[in-house]
Amino acid sequence: MAKALTMGLAAAMTADEKVVLMGEDIGPLGGVFRVTEGLQKQFGVHRVLDTPLAESGIVGTAIGLAMRGYRPVVEIQFDGFIFPAFDQITTQLAKLTARHEGAMQLPVVIRVPYGGHIGAVEHHQESPEAYFAHTAGLRLVSPATPHDAYWMIQQAITSTDPVMFFEPKSRYWPKGDVDLAASGAALHESRIVRAGTDVTVVGHGAMVSMLLDAAELAAAEGTSIEVVDLRSLSPIDYAPLLDSVHRTGRLVVAQEAPGSVSIGSEIAATVTEKAFYSLEAPVLRVSGYDTPFPPAKLEGVYLPDVDRILHAVDRALAY
């Protein structure tokens, strides 16, 4: 996926000279995950800016650049480092179009490598999506595959709204096909990525491949799981999900973030509201615990895995 993102960024920068990349270490180093590798050499130091180490400064100046007609794509180095920029993102970036009553657009993309599974140290494996999903004016997306990463980053950059682009860092290295000819699905669409009849499971980012693994294992035991890739976290595209729940009658939501007041909570509430008479069981959440992300040696306990997902599927089926 990292390579797909690099290609997507290069394509967007080639298509529009107003696209500029900003972040710490994104120049000669190519970013700590190498997503911007080679781009400064290709596009120059005024298109790929190695910034001072100041997250609020990076986002705040990106806002100013957007006001000037640029399309900044900001890299936040790690999920846990986004909070110094929280104020500029939530009180400024999210609200400025509304405060201008539409007279000014802020096409800023904020790339956030997020989530666990890489055994990193404190502040380097978090899932802060819900903080931003709660804020009006932002769009949030998260690709699960290289193909989606390639297309979605370009769509995020051409969007006139601010987009927070959550990159599941454990998926940077696994390979996958990118169809350069077929254009991607619309940025806001959720998609059924595996058909099934007994239980619907939904997730985003790194969780999607785990849900597919769980579905594969369940199939061997005779349970048919339908897997939905959320793709967009704000707004959430409920139509495919509701269609699926109408058919299966059961829903399990999986995410790495803590479960309370989360994307999964929102989905559970909304699906209960809109598909109550189709449900055979309560919507169940499989998530990280409501603790800080633990030391790496405990992440295997903290993060949802195939066993916990299948356990929830069994509980849903038991109703």
Binding site: G60, T61, T97
Partner: protein
């Protein structure tokens, strides 16, 4: 609480010109001012002060949720505001009513914010590149710096063509200098050598906290640690404010990087109509600054130049009329439509906005013809 040996001044509090080696470089800017421009400085200060008082009255009468007085800071604002060129961009904090007025902002737009009708609502492209007020302290310093980075990337710095070379002027207060964003703005401005002027209005109080709590060193010394040239001026001296800002903007446009001005001034009223300065500051201090009033000083200067009584009478009448019109227009303002809440949250279609707009409309419609 007062001036230092390094404070640049062209007009003494009694309105006489001050001559010193330190200000010699600024004299060409002042000498080039026409009589008409001098009158305009005075007119703007008087009109905005009168408007400011009227807006405060409107708040006291329950017509505004809040008012943010600029009384006492007219010279800092009018001098600097007139120093900017038409194509320069200005990022205010939230007290720069005079600057906005100079750039063509209808002051009723400010009233609309404080009456609870908008959260901004003006388009900088239609207000002389005067951007929105920012209530979060210091945030705009980064927006201004990013904007100035864009100007530089656009190649509109140091071309030598006055129609092209562009600068950014950003306002903030003494309290804001404690904010991380302002300090990060200094870092970015210096890193990218932005064409911008940081204009600090040191009005001595961040609500009830005196400037000495923000900084134990003179604030204009601080940007020098970032490598940004800085100066301290008498902010109640409109000529000095004009000349220093014009010179700094010229340097920024010429490609000399960011510049910094600390204008020593004084907020004579409250921070906003929500606080009561009698609880936190003494009368001696207020009296000290009242004797250095920016308008009285400039009026004395103009009288010394032989300005007619008729002019001052005319400006006083204009100020009264301006305030009366602002009052009448304020009382005639209509609240926004309910559905406007959803209109510009996103610039592209958004299903949640559509659904909630419809739900509200349906709910409202359910009462029609009802009990």
């Amino acid at each position: 609480m007062s001036y230092t040996p390094e404070t640049l001044q062209l007009l003494a509090p009694d309105g006489t010109r001050v001559v010193s080696d330190a200000t010699e470089a600024y004299l060409p800017y002042v000498d080039a001012l026409t009589e008409q421009q001098l009158r305009e400085f005075y007119r703007t200060m008087r009109v905005i002060r009168r408007f400011d008082i009227e807006a405060g009255n409107l708040q006291r009468q329950g017509q505004l949720a809040l008012w943010i007085p600029s009384l006492g800071q007219e010279a800092a604002q009018v001098g600097s505001g007139f120093a900017a060129r038409a194509h320069d961009h200005i990022f205010p904090a939230y007290r720069e009513h005079a600057v906005g007025h100079i750039r063509g902002l209808d002051v009723v737009q400010i009233i609309k914010m404080l009456r609870g009708l908008t959260h901004g609502g003006w388009n900088p492209a239609e207000t002389g590149n005067f951007h929105l007020y920012t209530l979060v302290i210091g945030s705009q310093s980064l927006h201004a710096t990013g904007y100035a980075m864009g100007v530089r990337f656009d190649g509109l710095v140091g071309t030598g063509d006055p129609e092209k070379d562009t600068a950014v002027l950003v306002y903030f207060g003494d309290g804001a200098t404690s904010q991380g964003d302002v300090n990060e703005a200094f870092v970015f401005a210096q890193s990218y050598q932005t064409p911008q002027v940081f204009f600090l209005q040191n009005n001595h109080w961040a609500i009830s906290v005196p400037v000495r709590v923000q900084s134990r060193t003179p604030l204009f010394h601080r940007p020098r640690g970032f490598g940004i040239p800085s100066q301290q001026i008498d902010g109640n001296d409109v000529l000095m404010s004009y000349a220093a800002t014009a010179a700094s903007l010229d340097a920024a446009r010429a490609g000399e990087g960011p510049q910094f001005i600390e204008a020593l001034t004084y907020r004579m009223g409250a921070h906003t109509t929500s606080d009561d300065p009698t609880k936190y500051r003494d009368d001696d201090e207020l009296h000290y600054w009242q004797e250095r009033d920016p308008i009285a000083r400039f009026e004395a200067y103009l009288r010394g130049l032989g300005e007619s009584e008729a002019f001052f009478t005319e400006v006083a009448e204009e100020a009264e009329q301006f305030a009366a019109e602002a009052r009448a227009r304020t009382l005639a303002l209509e609240p926004p439509s309910a559905e406007s809440m959803f209109a510009h949250v996103y610039s592209e279609p958004h299903p949640v906005m559509d659904a909630q707009r419809q739900a509200l409309a349906d709910f409202e419609a359910s009462f029609e013809g009802g009990a």
